[in-house]
């Protein structure tokens, strides 16, 4: 190295420096272009406006419904009667004699203990919210509207008030008074009624008690064993609809399975026709390939819409939509796999005097099966995800339940539940397809 002649080096040096300068310009240009594009997007998509319109309170509701439930204590302004119900739903209504211990009614005054010193009392049209350390907020319904008085120094962000409605949020719960009703929301961790609704004989029992009842203990319903009653109470839970949700999950997986499997079965013979090393006829190849391109180009969305018109809403429509899209993509993938097979094995089989069908069976198929199976299983997993979206369009499966729950903007605990189920379903399908891939492909060799 030290013995290099000096003269050419300066030349080389100039070249290298120029190359570096060019590359440096290039490597600055690309990030600059990306940045410019992102700025254009930020303007075009109105990022600034989004920040203003964002409803973080909705996000908070959704997040809290992931881990907690709320109980409504409602006093109807017209009749003056008080009811206690989980999530404020008729299905979660406590009978009067089974009210939880933290709410009591004596002499027409309702006392609600929100815990940690937070208390609420209803007295006619007046509600008093006692927050430890802050004092009492009194909200009153008058013929002119809803008014409130807060102690001095009470944090303003805890109160949202208008003539029609006043809401005060405390650390343990929320009180809201409107012209029609006075309501207190008490939050507690968990999903109450997830297993048994209030009218069930198993409601309110701890897991050990329930287990003991299941194994031994007197029959609650003389007609059937406790464990059978338990299963049916759980399965027919009117609050969480476990039967319907399980049916929807089944529909989604069914759509993915039928679409993927049938799509592969239809695509396989077509792929033979599209492979250049197996189909000598140029025009057949061209025709089949254009069919694949057309099917893929029209896109799942449009196929779904067209099919939904013909077959009506339901899982079959979703399965057919996945099937058609998969014929296009499987056809392309399979024909590429066919073109990449090793010709030597086919030649070897040919040398034994095998005919065309035998050459396919013993020369082509054994090479093809592992590639093919692995592609099909990959697609099965991704189609479980597609089936969720397609279900939302064709009206079937868990996708439909999710969109409905979001549109009603009420049952956020259902939304949280469905999201969890969808993630679990996709992960389960992911591991199932991975496990099958390992078993079928490695086991075959």
């Amino acid at each position: 190295m030290t013995s290099l002649p000096l003269q050419p080096t300066s030349d080389l040096r100039g070249e290298v420096v120029a190359l570096f300068a060019r590359r440096r310009r290039f490597s600055f240009l690309i990030p600059a272009l990306i940045l410019a594009y992102l700025i254009y997007i930020a303007v075009a998509f109105d990022f600034a406006g989004i920040a203003g319109r964002a409803r973080m309170d909705n996000a908070a509701t959704l997040l809290s419904d992931f881990w907690s439930y709320k109980t409504h204590v409602t006093r109807d302004a017209r009749s003056g009667s008080v009811s206690v119900a989980i999530e404020g739903e008729a299905k979660g209504l406590y009978p009067r004699d089974k009210w939880p211990a933290w709410v009591k009614e004596t002499d027409g005054i309702t006392h609600i203990d929100l815990g940690r010193g937070s208390l609420v009392t209803y007295e006619g049209d007046r509600a008093t919210f006692t927050i430890p350390g802050s004092g009492d907020v009194v909200i009153e319904r008058t013929p002119q509207g809803v008014t409130f008085t807060a102690p001095p120094g009470f944090p303003k962000e805890r109160i949202s008030a208008s003539d029609a409605k006043v809401t005060v949020t405390g650390p343990q719960g929320r009180v809201s008074v409107s012209r029609a009703k006075t309501e207190t929301f008490r939050y507690a961790p968990g999903w109450e009624l997830f297993f048994f609704t209030i009218d069930s004989p198993f409601y309110g029992k701890g897991p050990l008690e329930v287990a003991a009842l299941a194994v031994s203990g007197e029959r609650i319903d003389p007609g059937q064993a406790n464990i059978a009653l338990m299963a049916s109470e759980f399965w027919n839970n009117r609050m969480w609809h476990h039967r319907d949700v399980a049916g929807a999950l089944f529909e989604t997986i069914l759509m993915a399975f039928l679409g993927t499997a049938t799509g592969a079965i239809i695509a396989l013979p077509l792929a033979f026709l599209a492979a250049s090393n197996l189909t000598p006829s140029r025009s057949v190849r061209f025709g089949v390939r254009r069919v694949f391109d057309f099917v893929r180009g029209v896109d799942a969305l449009i196929w779904t819409i067209v099919l939904a018109r013909a077959f009506g809403p339901g899982p079959l429509t979703g399965a057919l939509a996945i099937l058609i899209t998969e014929v296009g993509s499987f056809g392309k993938q399979f024909s590429e796999a066919l073109e990449n097979i090793d010709g030597k094995q086919v030649e070897g089989i040919r040398s034994t005097g095998a005919n065309a069908a035998q050459r396919m069976r013993f020369g082509v198929i054994p090479q093809l099966i592992p590639v093919l199976l692995s592609q099909v299983l990959y697609s099965f997993e991704s189609n479980t995800r597609s089936a969720t979206v397609i279900g939302a369009i064709v009206g079937g499966g868990i996708g439909l339940l999710l969109t409905q729950a979001i549109i009603t903007q009420k049952d956020w605990e259902d939304v949280a539940y469905y999201i969890l189920l969808i993630i679990l379903m996709v992960m389960a399908m992911d591991s199932l397809s991975g496990w099958l891939r390992k078993r079928l492909i490695k086991g075959g060799h």
Partner: protein
């Protein structure tokens, strides 16, 4: 095994127990394959029966009416064919929005995927103990269907293209991250060692030692993802909001009288998808073959 099967004179040998054993094994394997196939077909057929029973309209009934809707749409659009060129131009901004959603989510997702992939690849990770954490988070991103994130974000952020963009970017980060890290696992570590020996930082090692090796494969995967994301962005528009999918939903809800719009949107979507597929597969071929030379 050919020796056993083709042996012309087995008579002067002890009885070929091996042959019997072999045939028995073959038979057993055939039986297993046949049983598997039968179970599979049974599942398939009963699945179709179950799906048909749960569907609002029956299969055979629907098959008769399969052509009705396209025929209705096309005949109305044909009657108003003079309006279609104008509609194509009118829907162009929505199409641009759909393509933009796909492009920006691919871009953001790919950037996140690069980081996630490098951080979760053995031998390259900045914090080797955390590779599992990054890998699991990629799995979670991948498992979340786009529609779930999009619908939740629409509720929080309101309509428009941003929820779809974020939703697709999330999924892209997970999906590309996995592919990227598979490529990075096969990267040659010698350049990294060389850079380590001159005291390069982790960022410099990755940028100068790893990225140049894997860039062609990564770009090829990112292009393929862009194809997928265009479709996803159209579908999310239909289910949620933003882009040409939303216009399609509005036109479809209107029904008769707007079918010329439906056809214009179908045409725009079809042409876009075909063009993007062609361009992307051309460049992907170039990237992969350019590397082989």
């Amino acid at each position: 095994m050919t020796e056993i099967v083709l042996d012309p004179a087995p008579s002067d040998r002890p009885p070929p127990r091996l042959e019997g054993e072999y045939l028995r094994l073959v038979q057993q394997r055939r039986l297993y394959s046949f049983a598997l196939l039968a179970i599979f077909l049974l599942l398939l057929v009963s699945g179709f029966i179950a799906a048909d029973a749960r569907n609002a309209g029956g299969f055979w009934d629907g098959l008769d009416h399969l052509g009705d809707f396209p025929a209705e749409v096309l005949s109305e659009a044909w009657a108003n064919r003079a309006r279609i060129p104008g509609l194509l131009i009118a829907f162009l901004p929505s199409l641009v929005e759909t393509v933009n959603i796909a492009a920006v989510s691919t871009l953001l997702g790919a950037i996140a995927a690069v980081l996630l992939a490098l951080l979760s690849t053995r031998g390259l990770a900045r914090w080797p103990r955390l590779t599992t954490v990054f890998r699991r988070s990629m799995d979670a991103f991948r498992a979340l269907p786009e529609v779930v994130i999009a619908l939740v974000l629409i509720y929080i952020l309101g309509g428009g293209p941003v929820p779809a963009m974020i939703a697709i970017a999330f999924h892209t980060a997970g999906a590309l991250g996995k592919l990227f890290s598979e490529v990075a696992e096969n990267a040659d570590l010698k350049p990294v060692e060389g850079l380590t020996s001159v005291g390069a930082t982790w960022g410099q090692k990755m940028w100068l030692g790893v990225i140049p090796q894997v860039a062609p494969d990564w770009l090829s995967y990112a292009l393929q993802r862009f194809e997928i994301n265009i479709r996803a962005s159209a579908i999310l528009g239909f289910v949620g909001s933003g882009g040409i999918g939303y216009d399609l939903k509005v036109a479809m809800q209107w029904g008769q009288g707007k079918y010329d719009q439906v056809v214009a949107i179908f045409l725009l979507l079809f042409v876009t998808i075909v063009i993007v597929d062609q361009i992307s597969s051309h460049y992907r071929n170039l990237l992969v073959k350019g590397r082989a030379q």
